[in-house]
Amino acid sequence: MVSSVLVRVNDVTKSFTTRGGESVLALSETTLEVREGEFLSLIGPSGCGKSTLLRMLAGLIEPTSGQITWAGGTPDKGGDIGFVFQEPVLLPWLNILDNVRFPLDSFGVDRRMGDEQAEQMLALVGLKDFGRALPKELSGGMRQRAAIARALVYKPRIVLMDEPFGALDLLTRDRMNDELLSIKAEVGATIVFVTHSVEEAAYLSDRVAVMSARPGRVRTIHEIDLPKTRSEAIKDLPAFHGWLSQLRKELK
């Protein structure tokens, strides 16, 4: 299946100026495509520019040079991009339902319709009965699910995730990975996912971009040719382990 390109990152670089006035190259010339509907992981050691690349896709920072071209025009409205941070970043004064409805509220969606969509989204992430709870009353994993619901509730063109499960314990992380896959299957979103876990990348992704540091760049891009429908079972396949060792080798 050949899917169309959603975003093309073309010879993009990013340099930052340090406090001392030196210019540091966070990302050297990078070219990459994100395809419609795919799950693309960016993996690499810290300092490889994976978060920088993600933030440029989100429009939070501008490239120093090069272009990012979007099929259908550069995102310029609130509903175009979904972003999930490493921390849930929920608003602690709103309950979970209000947090998930928050983007819809600010886009001016009618309250009742917003409630309906937010409730649906909560059910999808397994928080059906927790809409009235406050963020502080939920566990870290549940909070992150709410954050994912908030990023998906307005059906963005792309969902960008910056190590969303990095702060969770391993068991919760595995569960969240499976849930993320089923959510993605349900809503059919395009996801770009930053991680430094080789397992997570291989398990979740259609494609994995391996990045390396100093200077930050994309080294290789792999199509992960594992069965499309992922489940715990594929973790026993030799092919899966093949990918793990392949990716690990490249990360060294």
Binding site: A58, L60, G78, F85, V89, W93, P103
Partner: protein, 249 residues
């Protein structure tokens, strides 16, 4: 009805204290103009409230507290918002603000009388000057405390400046603003009573001076109790507000 031990303590502790007070006065035959026995202070309190003497004074003091607190809060919020928005301006005037903030503003009271007269204006202005700074600092700190990730979220969602302010920054700043308000409220009470001490013929502060200079020890003690209760009431009113507004914490 079974009383919770803590509820019980609310009654037991004052009873014990009053008992000790009474015992000391009786045992050592302390003259009433030095320390009147509790029953004398009690009947003075009854006379003040039942006889109606206290109300105009209490009203006067409360009026100064409320007016000064509201004006000081508005000013503090406003300048706090401006300074949080313009860090450049803040850096420029912060040293001066710190200087005024640390100066004992009570010392300004005579100056305010000189400038604004013996009437109620100078009293309200003293209270305003006391409330203003803690509220302003609370506002600046609160607005600064918004996490960078929340601001990024507001950019991802393309919130307008107004939306960002009303839906993210302001609610996030409320806890800090409230700590400023609580400090301000306590200061306002002290300031109002002190201002009445210095000039004028009405108010709880005036009554205290009157009691002191005419050697009416029971009245003076009654007034100490009234002002202490007033201070607690003012603080509690705000604390309840805060509890209600910040139930999410």
């Amino acid at each position: 009805m079974r009383l919770h031990p803590r509820t019980l303590m609310i009654f037991i502790t004052p009873a014990v204290l009053i008992g000790l007070w009474w015992g000391y006065v009786t045992l050592f035959k302390v003259p009433p103009f030095i320390l009147p026995p509790p029953q004398m202070v009690g009947s003075e309190l009854v006379r003040l409230f039942a006889g109606g003497t206290i109300w105009p004074h209490l009203g006067h003091t409360l009026g100064i507290i409320v007016a000064g607190f509201l004006l000081g809060t508005m000013g503090g919020l406003l300048l706090g918002l401006v300074l949080a928005r313009l860090p450049g301006l803040e850096r420029m005037i912060a040293p001066y603000l710190l200087f005024i903030q640390t100066a004992p503003k009570i010392a300004l009271a005579p100056l305010f009388i000189l400038w604004f007269g013996l009437g109620i204006t100078s009293k309200i202005i003293l209270v305003v000057s006391l409330v203003f700074f803690p509220v302003m600092i609370g506002t600046v700190l609160g607005l600064r405390s918004v996490s960078p990730a929340m601001l990024e979220l507001s950019r991802i969602l393309h919130l307008s400046q107004r939306q960002r302010f009303l839906r993210i920054e302001l609610p996030a700043a409320v806890p800090e603003i409230f700590s400023g308000l609580k400090v301000g409220a306590v200061q306002a009470t002290i300031g109002a009573i002190l201002a009445e001490w210095l000039s004028g013929g009405t108010g709880l502060g005036y009554l205290m001076v009157f009691a002191g200079t005419t050697y009416k020890a029971p009245l003076l003690f009654a007034m100490v109790i009234v002002t202490a209760l007033l201070g607690i009431a003012v603080y509690q009113a705000l604390a309840q507000c805060e509890k209600w507004l910040l139930s999410w914490r």
